[in-house]
Subunit: 189 residues, 2 copies
DNA sequence: CTATTTATTGAATAGTCACTCAATAAGGAA
DNA sequence: TTCCTTATTGAGTGACTATTCAATAAATAG
């Protein structure tokens, strides 16, 4: 056999699952081989090395995340209702049985900024900055620049908070109360 | 030579520095040997294994963190001023050159909950719950139970947020603005 | 049909990992 | 002093790591 027998997207998705659960270092190439069904040589031929594969996974993860945010806000009756819906989704996600936080957040904490160009730490940080920009651009449809900027930061702080707080047991209700206190300008019921 | 030639606390502190910067898995025993000056056999004789050593480091880190919070709040003119001072300290810390977030947060994200008893993930999560309890107990001196509980959660969400947001470049001012928006009940200037 | 290109294979490589253990050295107890 | 306990040593262990590469198989070009 030869020539494009596997689907690149499927390999990315299966690898994403693994990286999300175990992080970068703890996901071994052996596990990737088992999860994707590809042989080591195939992976290296198609993706270069583990870091390149991970980079593609991160890019895909980031694109999906931002698409989902857009979808949620665009589908809501107002910007603020959309933002609230996204936060509620994030909380709901965090109590699922195999919750594994956010790959970008995990990557930023796991990989150190070694000073080299295009390191994975900075890559994740930049993607998260883009998420903030996305929220800010939505807010600017409703508020002045200053308010939009402040509230975008506040949203990011709360999302990051939920990404970590979500590991506490039975935390959904508590988190929603905490979000309501910290984001009183959102249209809570 | 023999018998207690090294100081246990110093070994813990030096290992803490390493674990804070690289995380659990990425800190090799070889690095621990180099950092602490102990030989492999000595470390295993005194601490059991890498996980036990890390557990002692986590315990020490948690104790130090909570002591510092108490110190800051007890030394302030009011509970709320103390909480604000602690948040400002956290922000200030996050812009230092070798910032490495919070070991408990990093551990919770790096190590998965494998379901086993006393795993490191749960250990870190429990320590973070105690930090929340500490804030709640302070707040209960000023507010009713419900308000104290909600605001303690809100504080934790913001601290977690800062722990991650701190990796963005030039973020100190932005974070302070975000905190001011999300925690308007604190005595800002 | 033949030649060339290219995806796939999987055993093999060198390096790193956490960890061990017999030998050794130095206290305290008798 | 002699014995016993215990901290220290550091070379060594096997398991695992990411990665390679010559061989192979299939699709495409001429």
């Amino acid at each position: 056999m030869a020539k494009v027998l596997f689907k690149r997207d499927e390999v990315i998705d299966k690898s994403m699952w693994l990286f999300c659960h175990n992080g970068f270092k703890a996901s071994s190439m052996q596990q990737i081989v088992e999860t994707t069904g590809l042989k080591p040589g195939s992976i290296y031929h198609s993706f270069g090395n583990k870091e390149s594969l991970f980079r593609e996974v991160l890019t895909s993860y980031s694109a999906k995340s931002m698409a989902k945010i857009r979808e949620t806000i665009d589908g809501a009756e107002s910007i603020n209702e959309g933002i609230l819906a996204h936060l509620e989704n994030t909380v709901a996600e965090s109590i699922s049985v195999d919750y594994c936080s956010c790959l970008l957040v995990k990557t930023q904490l796991e990989l150190t900024d070694d000073g080299k160009k295009n390191n994975l730490h900075d890559f994740a940080a930049n993607q998260l900055k883009e998420v903030e920009s996305l929220f800010r651009s939505y807010l600017e449809r409703e508020y002045d620049e200053e308010t939009s900027s402040e509230r975008a930061v506040s949203i990011m702080l709360h999302i990051f908070g939920v990404r970590i707080y979500g590991y506490q047991q039975g935390s959904a209700e508590l988190m929603l109360k905490g979000l309501r206190v910290g984001l009183p300008w959102l249209p809570w019921n």
